[in-house]
Amino acid sequence: MSTFLYLTRRVLQAAAVILIVTVATFCLLHALPGGPARGILGPQATAQQIAQFNHEQSLDQSLPVQYFAYLGRLLHGDLGTSYTLNEPVAQLIQERLPKTLVLTVLSAGVGLLLAIPLGMWQAVRRNKPVDYVITTLSFVAYSTPVYFLGLMLVLVFSHILPWFPAQAPQGDTLAQVFADPAGLVLPVAAGAASVVAVFSRYMRGATLENLSEDYVRTARAGGSRRGAILRRHVFRNSLTPVVAMLGYYVPVLFGGALVVEQLFNYPGMGLLFWTAAQSSDYPVLLGCVLVISVATVVGTLAADVVQRFIDPRVKEGRA
């Protein structure tokens, strides 16, 4: 399949996926007890008030009509209005998303910086004690609920040893967040742990695979030293596919951010979502879900495309 055809197909698939997500969020919005009217007007509203509200908001029209109207609003960036905060959802997300991105990018970055050398070390020392120890630790880190890890980090590094604050940086702007780097340490550590666990495994696997390739043997036979081969060939060939896997990891990063933000009281999109769940603020909930799923679809698409281009052997591996 030509590259152009492949790209077109993948983009269309991604668009279809996002369309399905909008159908799902639309259905959820309408499956709510009492519908949006009850949500906005509250439990005291009379049937007449609800009927009038439904008429004003075009909620008495047929579902397909409403769905296309909803889709039209989404395309114009209108995600509805928060029940509790009385602000446009799009604006709320716009304010909080950058903070969540700071958290996730830092967690992923720190996690990768640790995972890549660890994974290579494991591969080089395959089936030696180091390999076993790191594998076991990866299993433990992977199996630990993020909030429990965060709690333990707070207990040890904030409560027993007063090194870092137990609360993430507060404030509305990114400048305020960066003004308090010590406050970011524990949240980022909690978020990075699983990245280390998962990506050290990827890196271990990729390195092992590359080490068994013919070119390594050829280079060895040609007199290159092991360290030089690792640095010059194996590292480079393993790095790109492993980093590309981050694309598939986007939903996990957001899930982690949800928990970390709640635990450390970090005012990002995760905390916005969590608060909205407590107060049944459905437009905010579904708006966040939509934004996250678009991010996930884009991440997956990017990872697929990158993998295809760096390794011509990958053809439609993931259908």
């Binding site: 630990t144 495994r201 996990v252 909930l285």
Partner: protein, 306 residues
């Protein structure tokens, strides 16, 4: 990150203790798999841990009987002692007894939800892969869409709508986590459906249902079993998240995640026994199921990820 938060398992490849290749010839596939599995140290330890935890949660209360229904405020927040080995919580429940009581829920919900998710995923994946064409395309885009919404977010949306009991929890968790197994089974079905025996069955008039039920599913069984094991690990973790974030069961019912949530405020007052035991229990059991899954994957020699 965890399933939950994490979708999918720790990437596999062969673990450090992956099965030996020098198995004797003439041994049945299953016996070979058992032999390989039993040589994987991590997997065997995992199996032992799971068995121990089941004994602890289900047989433990027979030896160490406690009242987990009524509150006993006069004996609240006691430290570990001879009469309360792990102390008591904020309403006077014995913490060790609560660990057994909550563990039952965590294990049962995790197992049931993991199995349910695998069953749904298997049927969906087999149907999609077998049908092929546009039916397959649409069904798999639905899976993609499901994966695009992290389970934790969907669960919180649901928690804003309703508060489920144990059965509701199993159903909801099963319904949000069947996506990964469906991809695995679909991939398996794509290769199986073109085997000669499937074509032969169809040629002599066998129905599609029969082809799926008699050939495709039985031949995917190792993939399904491996997927189910990881699914259970993920589900136990997911239950812990869900209870922590507030979709959990109502007291006095609880599970390990609910215990962690309830003990949250005790973190700073030094009452470690409210936080550390349930946390370690979750980690140990999830680790154990993942190790078993890893061992099974190597033993059956299947690809474990989608």
């Amino acid at each position: 990150m965890s399933a939950v938060v994490q979708s999918g398992q720790l990437p596999g490849g062969t673990g450090p203790s992956a099965g030996a290749e020098a198995d004797g010839a003439g041994v049945s596939g299953l016996r070979l798999a058992v032999r390989r599995f039993s040589r994987n140290r991590l997997a065997v330890i995992g199996l032992a841990v799971v068995v121990l935890f089941f004994l602890f949660c289900f047989a433990g209360p027979l030896l160490y009987s406690t009242d987990q229904t009524h509150t006993a405020l006069t004996s609240a927040n006691l430290g570990p002692s001879g009469s309360h080995l792990l102390g008591t919580d904020a309403v006077g429940h014995d913490e060790l007894g609560r660990l057994m009581y909550g563990g039952k829920v965590s294990l049962v919900v995790g197992l049931a939800a993991g199995v349910l998710a695998t069953v749904i995923g298997t049927l969906w994946g087999a149907a999609a892969g077998y049908a092929g064409g546009w039916v397959d395309a649409v069904m798999m885009r639905v899976v993609d869409a499901g994966i695009a919404i992290p389970a934790l977010f969907i669960l919180l949306v649901i928690s804003a709508i309703a508060t489920p009991g144990v059965w509701g929890l199993i159903l909801i968790l099963g319904l949000v986590s069947w996506l990964v197994p469906s991809r695995l089974v679909r991939a398996e079905t794509l290769t199986l459906k073109n085997r000669d025996y499937v074509h032969t069955l169809r040629a002599i008039g066998g129905s599609h249902t029969r082809a799926i039920g008699r050939h495709i599913l039985p031949n995917s069984v190792s993939t399904v079993v491996v997927a189910a094991t990881f699914q259970v690990a993920d589900a136990i973790l997911l239950v812990a998240y869900v209870s922590y974030l507030g979709l959990g069961l109502q007291p006095p019912k609880t599970d390990w995640g609910g215990m962690l949530s309830a003990g949250l405020s005790a973190t700073y007052s030094g009452r470690w026994w409210l936080i550390v035991p349930p946390g370690l229990a979750v980690i140990l059991v999830v680790c154990a199921f993942n190790a078993i899954g890893d061992g099974l994957r190597d033993a059956f020699d299947v690809r474990g990820r989608g």
